[in-house]
Symmetry: C2
Amino acid sequence: MARRAYDLAYERECRAIRAKVEQMLEADDDIRQIWRIHDYLSKERRETDQKYDYRYSVLIFVFARLINEGWITEADLSGLGPDKTQEIKALLRFGREDEVNS
Amino acid sequence: MARRAYDLAYERECRAIRAKVEQMLEADDDIRQIWRIHDYLSKERRETDQKYDYRYSVLIFVFARLINEGWITEADLSGLGPDKTQEIKALLRFGREDEVNS
């Protein structure tokens, strides 16, 4: 169940990156636009490679981040077990309080 | 005149790269296609950065290569002066003989 939510988030994020590339191609006919697209994809590849880490020890942080960024919802994690779900909810609350206080 | 031919080749090559990216997007809806496009753009960026070198000392080699690859024709270099044009033609002949003998 965790794997399903993880794969779903990755798929959604890849589709959003693809849509952005298509939009960049449409928006500008300048010959250097392909290098701007290359810069954009380099940045996204670094970020997604770093973000999508399926090691058990970091997984609750990964899921909290994916929820926070809107790639999945808490409902997508329904099969994860109550302990893990509570930990993720606590992380999200902590993150929100942190935003309010900063 | 040399600059015009050089810029023309660069523009044509960038447009061909863009067309290839558009074709790759159309050809495959797989989520990992964006990373294949990123690999392709990384390769092309390395190659074009290395190829498009406007230093006077290397320019006849650059032009011979651009003609050989079909990005410009000998006619595009008409304003370059007879000496340089002859040198480029000699390079192209040499390249063709080399291909025949290899």
